[in-house]
Each structure stands twice: as C-alpha cells, then as structure tokens.
Amino acid sequence: MRNSFNTAGFSEVVHEIRHDPAEAAYVYTARAKWSPRRGLSAWIAPALLGTVKSARSFRFEVDDSAGDDPCGGASPMDFALTGIGSCALTTLVGGGSARGVEFDGVEMLIDYDHPAEPVRCRIDMDGSADDQVLAELVEQMRNFSPNCTTLTHPVAVELVRASGPAGQPTDAPDTPEAPAVPDAPEAVAAGPAASCRVRWVSSTQLEAKAVGSDGPALRVDAPKQLTGVDWGPNPQEYLLMGLAADVAAHLGRLSAGLTGERHVWEVSAQAREDVRGLLQSDADAVVPLQDVICTVFPPAKLASEHGVGEVVMNAFAASAVRDLISRPHIADISLVTGGR
C-alpha cells in the first residue's frame, strides 16, 4: 500500500458509489456540553457512511473559548483548524497515493488570527514527485478537500433550538427566526488567535497540536469502515466538534450574564458530505459540507426565561467557528518542498 494508503479500497468506494449514489452521503455528528462544574467537553456521535453506521467513542475536554475554564486542552478553534488541516492533508496524501506518489513527510501549519484575515496554511512536503506534481496535488487538495472548500465557500449553517434539554422527551424542534448572523467579520467575536501544526503520520492517520500548547496531540483518523483504524475522530468530526463546543461555550457565558447563574448547555452539530465531490466520481457533486445544522438544547430551568432565544442567537452569531464555516474565507496556501 503506497503511503500505507489503501488505494484499492478507495477505488472500490469510487465504483460502489457510481453504482449506488446513496452510498456517497456521509452524515457526521458531534456534540458538546458546557457545564458549570465540568467545563467544556466535546464528543462524536455515530456517523452514517452511506448505508453503513460507524459508532465510535471519542470524548475530549476543551478549553473554553471565552477563557473562563482553561483545561490545558485544545480550544474549539484548535479543533476546527485540526479538522480543516487534516482534511486537506488526507486529501493531498490520498490523491497523491492514487497517482503513485510516495511521501516522506507532509505537514501543515495552519493559522487563524482574526475573522477579517485570511487563514494561512503553510504546507511542507517531501516526496518522490517533482515540484510540479506536488503543486498539482495542492491545487487538487484546494478544490476537492471537503473541509478546505467549506472554509473557502459560503456554507449555510442552520440554527435549531430544541424545545427541551438533550436526553429528555422533547416536542418538535423549534427553529427561531433566521438568526442575525453577521455578514461583516468585525461583528464576530474574534476570540483568541489559534495556530495548529498538523502532521501526516501514515495512511489516514494524522496528528495535530496547537502551537505553544503543552497538551497532548490530537489524533485524526478515518473510521475503519473507510480504511482507517479508528485512531481518532476524522477531520469532519473535528470541525463539527469545534462548532458545537464554540457555540456551547458562548451559550454558557451569555446565559450566565443574563441570569446570573451558570447552567448546563448542550449543542449538537451535524453535517452531510457528498463524498462524490472529494473523489470526483461525479464532477457535478458538491464538495463542501452541506446541511450543516447546529441544534441547541437549552437547560430546563431556562425554558420559560425571557431572553433565552436572544442568548441562543447571539451565541450562534458570536461563534468564530460558525463564521469559519458559514462565511467564505480566503485560504492563503503556500507550499514548501524538499526543505523540511
């Protein structure tokens, strides 16, 4: 297997979904909780890969983006950058493996400073191919990586407010009026800048580490249903964990400001990927994530509290990760070859 990447397996997926496009619809779900006692945490729910379910067990403590409860772990924006960088590198290595390129090492330093600034991605790459082929691969990565294109394209993120807390019987979800999602980057809570170094390890396995962090590296991998070995969540799941955790953290902070008390907030983030876009098995297929839904489960105590709807919409609007997904950003991608 070139680069430990199972090209035969990916080839079979390409042909399977040509026969049966329903197998190309992947649905990922992540959840996050902001708790006054336990801080911010995020985990993934079962994914549906076409008609096959992938249930996996990954849970993380997350640094509160509002800065209230630092746990030494990665922040929601670190999760989001990990999701974008690892998707880009997996796409790059996979595409390179398909055309026979052998890689010695691939890394990306991905920087987020401010909503108004481009997201900088510096790729360092060593491999058997010449610079022209490597540059072609980067271009294919830019066009076909689902998370990369989610960063650079406008992707609608729907906000849904559930009528009750997570895990309790609830009425039909109550969708508020269209939230006041800002068009201007200045209206988004900037939050702290983030910088992650994402390193390809083998096959679909990668590691990411927030620059300057002493915390453990985040492991990235595909589910074993997609030639991974379940070493960690996959790139889409990291991006969605970042979204859910960021919104949950803002909810905790804003609702405390409203009521003077701290409550448990849970958020679910779900998105669909049409893998025909990544694989280009159908040139017309959409590449970025679709049907991105952010569901907020308000605390039971706040069900009748006046102003909670506004808190939900403000938290959603303030989320920099939400902004990263919904508003098109400039990706400033640079490539360094052979000099690592």
């Binding site: 297997m1 090209t7 035969a8 079979e12 992938s54 249930a55 398909a98 589910p223 694989l279």
Partner: protein, 443 residues
C-alpha cells in the same frame, strides 16, 4: 506460471498507473476472489448443481476433475504479487496461504454460490468466523443486540469479550420483535441472531428482524448453521451477513473444524483482514474436505429434514416424552412462523424425556445407532444433553428460564434410514420407561 493468470478475475483490470485522482482508479471488485481456473456458475442454477460444480478449480495442466489440494504455505512472487502489495489487494493474488490459496477460493466460491451471494471467507472454526465478523463490523463505542440463548460460544464472546473491547451488548428473546425494537439505540451497529436456536429450535423471524436492522442503519448477521442455505437463504430475506459453523452441516461428515462467512465483498474484505489478524485461516486440506462435503449438501439436508420430521412426529406420540421441539409440529411457539421462508427445518429435534436428566442419560445409554457425542450436522446421528454439555455452566434456574427443562435431549438426525432410527429410539425409550423411577420420586 507465465501462461496462466493466477490472480483473481478483475485484478488486472483494476491496475492503473495513469491515475491523476481517485476518479481515475479502476478497481471495482464486487465478487470473488475467483481465478479464471475456478468454475463460476450463475446463482440461478439449482443448489444441487451449484453444490457439485461451483468453485471447482479446473487445473489447466493436469485436467483434474476435482479441486487439487494446494498444500503449500507460500507462492512464487511475481509482478502481480508486488502490484497486490502496492495497491493493498493481496486477497486477489495467491501470495501466502494465510492470505489466500486456490483451494480456499474453491470452497469459498461454492459456499457463496449456495447462499446466493458474491463472496465468502472460510475460517478455522465457526467461532473464528463469528468473532472475526463481530470485531470487523463493529467499532469501540458501538452497541450489539443478540439473543440470550444464542450458542454458548457466541454468548461467551459477546458477554465476556465485547465489554472490554468497548462494545455493549443487549440480550433479548430472539422471537420477541418488540423487545428487539426496544433494544435499538443510536449507536446500535449490529444485530446477531440464529436462524434456529440451540437447543430449543426457536425460529426468529429473520425478515422482520432485517427490517428493524435497516430502520436502525445497523447490520444483521445471521448464524445459519442449523438450517444451511438449502433450507433458508437469510441474505434473500434482508440479512447482510451469514455465518456458519461449517464443522456441522456444510462439512457434514464430522471430520473437520471450519467456519464460513458469506455476503457482499464490501463487508467480506473487512472480515477477511480480521481473520488474518486473528490467525483464523482455514488450511488447504480442511478446505478440500469442506468442499468435498458440500457437494452432497442438498442430498444430505433433504434426508436429514425428512428424518428429523419423522422422528419429531414419532416422539410427539410417545408416552415417555414430555415435550418435543420441532417447527414441523406447530404449536404456540411456531404460530407466527413464516413457513414460506423455509424449505425445511434441518436435522435437529430436541425433546424432554419424562423422568428428568437421569432418565435421559439412561435413555441415551440404551441407543444403539446414534453416537452419544456433542456437535451436530454429520451424516451420523448424534445425541447429547444440553444440561451436561453446552449449557452446563448455567444454574438449574437459568436453564429453566430459557426453557431447558430436566430430561432435555438434543438429537441430530443423520442420513440413516428413518425407520431404523425410530425403532432404536422407541426401544430405548420403552426400556427407559421400565427402569426409571425418577419421575415418581419427583412427584
């Protein structure tokens, strides 16, 4: 070697060095592996013909009629071998017998054809097949639904190994659809049931269970050991994977230990890699024995269906028998049985001898034709008691709860003459009736 393509059909078409992206990759395996030397028959052919001919390796050098035993651990490396390593397609080229061997491919193709599907894997035992399947198709964090009275080896795997492997298991009554539906969770990934249970011959409604699995986006794995594809093809009813202890009816001669997994290649390749890691490969001589046994499967099953039915009817009328479990007899347990899904009920009969376990032991000692031995599905009749073999680890109360009452005997009908078997059973029961006093004492 250069004159013959020993790789699987489709392997060469799947090699493409000109790919520029994923969409240029040309590998599209949906069946096999079988080589051009393996006889490939349409799945529309009758089971009797498939059993004899499907998968046979037609040796181009010697013209041998039967599949040769490729009793080798390794094969010469060539360009195809290296390409297989490079692409991650080592299942499709004979490289090393643990990965694959033409004798394995023969028997795998025969079993896949009989179950009406495209691919199969043979393994070193039925438990190897079951363990590899469950591990391959579930992830840590997933949930499995099965029956509390599945085969003891399966129960032990699910109960004793799955929790530490990060899988949770719920056990239900396999005939209670409401209980199965209620057990479904968002993370439910696999349902595992048997087409007939051991030893009480409960008949779970496979078609309805498959619907529940589909609604849950879960996979349904069915152990078809007791019925075999001659009596039921669960994949036609909506199951995703079928497993067998091939030690039983598929082999049919009590002379080998083997397992089989059958289904779409998409799933089978993952199960195959798990078999490799567990070291559960079936060696070539056992493959040969299994393939030879399979040639007579439909004939044997027909005889065993008939024998078991006749024996069940006889036992139901005998005064020394308190209860008989067999679908052909009907009764409350089989009131909702979808009889159109069955072409027979196999060779198993279980029944309760009046007088309890002591009387049952006495009865078995008086039989002259069946062997008193565990296992089932061979050409010879076998008889045993669950209480002191397969279910001996349970307490009396636990056995009673699942319906294993004192005196329960499990009879695996062979292909002997039914009249001989019935005469032998009758004589033993009659003699047991004269000697046994347990029942009176129990009263």
């Amino acid at each position: 070697m250069d004159n013959y393509n020993r790789a699987a059909i489709g392997f060469e078409e799947g090699r493409n060095s000109d790919a520029h992206w994923f969409n240029d990759l040309t590998r599209s395996r949906f069946a096999g592996p079988v080589s051009a030397q393996h006889r490939f028959l349409s799945r529309d052919v009758s089971p009797e013909t498939l059993a004899v001919h499907a998968g046979t390796y037609q040796d181009p050098i010697t013209g041998s009629v039967g599949t040769p035993i490729f009793q080798t651990s390794t094969f010469l490396l060539d360009e195809s071998s290296y390409a297989a390593f490079s692409d991650g397609a080592i299942r499709d080229v004979p490289i090393y017998t643990r990965y694959g061997n033409p004798t394995q491919w023969s028997v795998q193709e025969k079993i896949a054809a009989l179950e009406g599907t495209r691919s199969s894997v043979v393994t070193s035992s039925g438990m190897s097949a079951i363990a590899s399947t469950i591990y391959a198709l579930t992830n840590a964090g997933s949930h499995i639904i099965s029956a509390y009275d599945v085969y003891g080896g399966t129960y032990n795997l699910l109960h004793e190994d799955m929790p530490s492997a990060g899988r949770e298991v719920s056990f239900v009554d396999p005939t209670d659809l409401d209980a199965i539906r209620a057990a479904v969770r968002p993370e439910t990934q696999l349902l595992f049931f048997e087409t007939l249970t051991n030893p009480l011959l409960k008949a779970p409604p496979i078609r309805e269970i498959a619907r529940i699995a589909d609604e849950a986006n879960a996979l349904l794995v069915v152990d078809n050991t007791f019925l075999t594809p001659v009596n039921m093809r669960p994949l036609d009813l909506g199951a995703h994977i079928v497993v067998h202890s091939a030690t039983k009816y598929l082999g049919g001669h009590s002379d080998l230990t083997a397992g089989a997994v059958v289904g779409r290649r998409k799933f089978l390749d993952r199960i195959w890699t798990q078999v490799l890691r567990f070291g559960g490969t079936l060696e070539p001589l056992a493959c040969f024995l299994l393939e030879r046994g399979l040639k007579t499967l439909p004939l044997r099953i027909r005889a065993q269906n008939d024998n078991a039915r006749e024996i069940a009817r006889f036992l139901a009328g005998h005064e020394r028998v308190a209860a008989v479990h067999h679908p052909d007899l009907g009764g409350d347990r089989y009131a909702g049985l979808a009889r159109e899904d069955y072409r027979g009920y196999g060779g198993m009969v279980s029944f309760e001898v009046r007088g309890g376990d002591k009387a049952a032991l006495d009865f078995m000692s008086r039989l002259t034709i069946p062997h008193v031995a565990t296992s089932l599905g061979g050409v010879e009749s076998l008889v045993s008691m669950p209480s002191n073999t397969s279910h001996s680890s349970l307490t009396s109360r636990q056995r009673s709860l699942i319906g294993i009452h004192p005196g329960l005997v499990r009879f695996s009908a062979g292909i002997e003459n039914a009249a001989d078997l019935i005469r032998d059973l009758g004589s033993a029961l009659d003699a047991t009736g004269l000697d046994a006093t347990d029942e009176e004492q129990q009263r």
